[in-house]
């Protein structure tokens, strides 16, 4: 991959080209993300590639703060969005970049897109969120697992026995009813993902199907990345969004 970020210099990013591949799997809770990441990892390792997993909220730097904040439900939307960005930056610099530099494939179970969508649904401007994550590395491939809300609901209930407070967006006060809030929230998120996806160049994969069918399609997207020589690129590569809006004068 190239050492390209989404437009902002990342201090300390190595100058020499990074040889590993960065593959991102995005999708709502219940879209089969974790299952797909596990299947993909297995397959890549059998193919002979070193694979490193990463995901959100796995950095030790602020994991406790995030957990505590979620328990208390007291943080403002901007603070929460920034707290997640610390977690992401820490993993990017301390895990993702070193792994890629060592030639490994990094499989990211969600990336900046989920964080951006969540922040925007909670009132942040798209422009603010996009620029905040300008330091993120451009992945080689972003797979977006797309499933209908009813399917997400059934998978969530069969997995956890109930609906999660945050995955139902209860902090947004869309409805006091958990069930209704879940649908309202997932609807907003998926609208936001549709925008992020078109801006950033996602590969949408129909995740309403059986995991094996999903995996077969994802493998077809991943395989070209490892073709030696001129190819080595996905048929539809992630892209840097166009900056349509002129830079606003910072208000601070």
């Amino acid at each position: 991959m190239t050492n390209r970020t989404y437009g902002t210099r990342l201090p300390g990013l190595p100058d020499e080209p990074i040889s590993g591949k960065l593959i991102v799997v995005e999708g709502a809770d219940g879209s089969g993300r974790s299952t797909e990441v596990a299947l993909l990892r297995e397959w890549l390792e059998v193919e002979g590639h070193a694979v490193v997993d990463t995901g959100l909220r796995r950095s030790t730097l602020v994991a406790e703060e995030i957990d505590r904040a979620k328990q208390g439900h007291t943080l403002g939307a901007t603070t929460m969005a920034l707290l997640y960005s610390v977690d992401f930056a820490d993993q990017l610099e301390n895990k993702i970049v070193p792994a890629l530099s060592a030639g490994s494939t990094v499989l990211a179970d969600r990336y900046i897109y989920t964080l951006m969508a969540r922040a925007v649904v909670r009132g942040a401007s798209r422009d603010w969120a996009r620029r905040l994550y300008g330091f993120a590395l451009l992945p080689d491939l972003v797979v977006f697992l797309e499933a209908r809300p009813e399917i997400l609901l059934h998978r969530a209930i069969s997995k956890y026995g109930s609906l999660d407070y945050w995955e139902s967006g209860m902090d947004l006060s869309l409805s006091r009813d958990l069930f209704e809030s879940f649908f309202l929230y997932q609807d907003r998120l998926s609208k936001e993902f549709a925008w992020v996806g078109s801006e950033y160049g996602f590969h949408r994969v129909d995740a309403n199907r059986h995991p094996e069918q999903v995996d077969a399609e994802v493998r077809q997207l991943v395989a070209p990345l490892y073709v030696k020589g001129a190819a080595g690129r996905a048929s539809r590569s992630p892209k840097i969004p166009l900056r349509r809006s002129p830079r606003r004068a910072a208000s601070a």
């Binding site: 210099r9 602020v62 703060e65 610099e93 620029r131 330091f135 910072a250 208000s251 601070a252």
Partner: protein
């Protein structure tokens, strides 16, 4: 009752005064004195300092102790801390129409992060939720003076404060001086671009305080005092 005339600078009914400058420039002393005076004049005053939020201060301390932070995580962690402080402590009184006095504001992050090599436009965007203050007082002081004060106070210079993470020098005092010089250059540049009111901090405490009060008085002309906020006349 909320004052009817919003600030021409940020549009909120309250007023926002910010104190910026290097460590040891005397700004904290002056900010506290100004706050006290404003209170004595009957204004409702809220006073906040950088790093007074509880949310991430533990992490910042831990991260700093173990020297775990990169320029990017250092910047984002402080932004998180500031956002928490802003959403909780600065914005509500500003909206309610009080006078808010801040010992350090987003500008501290702008200079510090720029000195660490972060993209200035990126940092500005992150803090774009923070409105422009009614007035920023920048305390100008020679770096040598701050170092002398630092040594006299017997406070230990910490790793990040000295910019040791930048590898400017292996020696703590030398690194501190070089790093503070960078910060000062950024402050001086910003004093022009962002229209700071420059305060020459080499003068006596009393002289400086009198000057600050003279700057603040016209901004608070016709601004309601606490009494008038809490009762009808």
């Amino acid at each position: 009752m909320i004052p009817e005339a919003p600030s021409p600078t940020h549009g909120f009914p309250g007023r926002l005064f910010v104190f910026e400058g290097l460590d040891g420039s005397g700004k904290s002393t002056q900010a506290a004195l100004l706050g006290k005076w404003l209170q004595s004049q009957g204004y409702r005053v809220f006073f906040t300092e950088w790093n007074s939020s509880e949310l991430t201060s533990e992490t910042i301390r831990r991260g700093k102790k173990k020297n775990l932070l990169t320029p990017t995580t250092f910047s984002l962690l402080h932004a998180t801390d500031f956002a928490d402080r802003f959403e909780r402590k600065i914005l509500p009184p500003l909206r309610a129409g009080y006078v808010v006095v801040c010992d350090r504001y987003a500008y501290t992050a702008f200079v510090r992060d720029a000195a660490r090599g972060c993209d200035p436009a990126w940092v500005r965007n992150i803090y774009s939720f923070a409105p422009r203050p009614d007035r920023v007082f920048y305390f100008r002081v020679p770096v040598a003076v701050t170092l002398k004060r630092k040594i006299a106070s017997r406070l230990k210079i910490n790793y990040y404060e000295a910019g040791m993470d930048l590898g400017l020098s292996d020696e703590l005092h030398d690194s501190y001086e070089r790093f503070q010089t960078r910060l000062k250059q950024e402050y001086e540049r910003m004093a022009k671009s962002d229209g700071f009111t420059v305060i020459d901090s080499s003068r006596s405490v009393e002289t400086i305080q009198a000057e600050l009060r003279a700057h603040v008085r016209p901004i608070l002309e016709n601004f309601p005092t606490g009494e008038r906020l809490m009762h009808d006349e």
